[in-house]
Amino acid sequence: MTVAAIETEALRKVFGDHAAVKGLTLQVSQGEVFGFLGPNGAGKTTSIKMLLGLVAPTSGKANLLGAPIGDRATLARIGFLPEHFRFQDWMTASEFLMLHGELLGMDMQALKKRRDELLERVGLAPFRNKQLRTFSKGMLQRIGLAQALLNHPALVFLDEPTSGLDPVGRRLVRDVVHELRNEGTCVFLNSHLLSEIEVTCDRVAFIRHGEVVRVLELATLNGNQSVVTIRASGWTSELVAQLEHWAHDIQFTGEQLTLTVNNEDSIPEINRFLVAQGVNVFAISPSRISLEDIFIETVGKDGGL
């Protein structure tokens, strides 16, 4: 059996009398693209910092690639793009990558080749000799991403990798994540941009008050589940009951009916059925259930404050 990329058990961090992370229990497989979702202050960044050895856990256990956190040999196989992407801004883009490659213990020849490759990949090759202090937010994020990929990591942590990026940059991150998945790299993605998560992740965990409240396979979400609103007249309660053949969560409010179907193909069938039963249908409007809906449902409208 292959070891998990990330495995945590009741990982906990208390600052003073405030538990930033109450007890994180999580398992992420190698090669998986995993989304880490939760409202502000849910303990996501603290969790990542614990996994990377920046913050010492108060209690609990965690393994990365089979080794306990803080293991130096393992850190050589990990990439990390931190949240606010503040880097040694007096260095040039090229120097910055060289420094981090050297700290990774990379061979000089291989490092130079990899540096050029990555500068090209993130679109910063023309700016390689510019100091980072002259970089825009988006450029800093790109160089940070390049830095996280220097060592062909087996596991990459991206903490809000797209927050400073324009649509082109976001697309770049998305493409890079896809490439990493194809290479079998595990990507641990912490982001607020749910639409990004939706298209990039295999699985997501929802965090609230530093605990996993729900884990979701996005494949099920990307099936055809929809919430359908039907405006019509001439209902009978018997008819409504018969709709359960196609749908669930049926709610009837006056002229309007909302229900959830598991497959969008059911919608025309429902329409035909209603018309055949003599119901006057004015409108049928389906809407896909988005990750955002599930997010709000899971963590609550208060955002867990």
Binding site: L52, F80, Q88, L103, L104, Q147
Partner: protein, 283 residues
């Protein structure tokens, strides 16, 4: 060990890029120019005054005046080196922690101590160059203009370097858990305390006041910078000055070898504290 070296190089490189080295160099050269002009004028005046006096007395006066002037110059250099040491390292760890630049570094396969030791080594190298330029320059100016070369110059320079390293290391240790400004406050506060303690000890020893001498020793134990400086001036002191006790730079109560060893241990201990505190803190 290799990682320490990489980080030391980075620290050095950063100081050059951030124009710390350039600023230090420009102001240092300015200082040396002014010092050179002043030294020359006073030297000439003393020589003219000496014409009306017997030869042996004139030579002794010239010698004493040169010694006094060099001590004054080195005193300024010592203070500038101390300030340089404190300014370099006061925000070194704290600043990188609060800005977050340390995060990509610490998540590499390195020890936390590598970061502390790498920075220390980088700063130590910068201070050595600075001191060599400034103190070396002042000594060279004195020699070229009056032929005066104090005794034990190398020993004195090493002691001055120790003084600057003490301050730099202490600031680095504070910086591992305090914000930059608080570190600056703590370091200069202690330096001031040691300074005034040293003077109380000197004056106390003139009047044979044991309590005053003990106050000085206690402050020296708290922060041995002033004691090390006094030892440095003592090493260079002319025989005549030791007998006459005539200038503010002559040393009466001489810090012993034990104090020098204590200062070295103090420095190493501070470095150990810096490593340990930084090792255990959350970033």
């Amino acid at each position: 060990m290799k990682k320490i070296w990489i980080l030391a190089r980075m620290t050095f490189h950063e100081a050059i890029r951030r124009r710390i080295v350039l600023t230090g160099l420009v102001l240092g050269i300015l200082f040396l120019i002014i010092y050179s002009i002043g030294f020359g004028m006073i030297s000439k005046q003393v020589a003219i005054d000496g014409l009306s006096r017997p030869d042996i007395l004139a030579r002794a006066m010239q010698n004493e005046m040169s010694s006094f002037m060099l001590n004054a110059g080195l005193y300024a250099v010592a203070f500038l080196s101390v300030a340089m040491g404190a300014l370099l390292s006061a925000d070194a760890l704290a600043g990188e922690i609060s800005s977050g630049t340390i995060q990509t570094v610490l998540t590499k396969p390195i020890r936390r101590s590598d970061v502390v030791l790498g920075k220390w080594l980088g700063f130590a190298g910068l201070l050595a160059l600075y001191l060599l330029l400034m103190a070396g320059g002042a000594i060279l100016i004195a020699f070229l203009q009056s032929g005066y070369l104090p005794q034990n110059v190398l020993k004195a320079l090493m002691l001055m370097y120790l003084e600057a390293l003490l301050v730099m290391t202490f600031a680095l240790a504070c910086s591992s858990f305090l914000p930059g400004l608080a570190t600056g406050g703590a370091v200069f506060g202690l330096y001031g305390l040691a300074f005034i303690g040293g003077w109380i000890e000197q004056i106390g020893s003139i009047f044979n006041n044991q309590t005053a001498v003990q106050v000085g020793i206690v402050t020296s134990l708290l922060f041995p910078t002033e004691a090390i400086w006094r030892r440095a001036t003592f090493e260079m002191q002319t025989a005549l000055a030791t007998v006459l006790q005539m200038s503010p730079f002559t040393t009466r109560s001489v810090p012993s070898d034990v104090m020098v060893i204590y200062a070295i241990l103090y420095l190493l201990g501070t470095l150990v504290v810096a490593v340990r505190v930084f090792h255990n803190r959350d970033i």
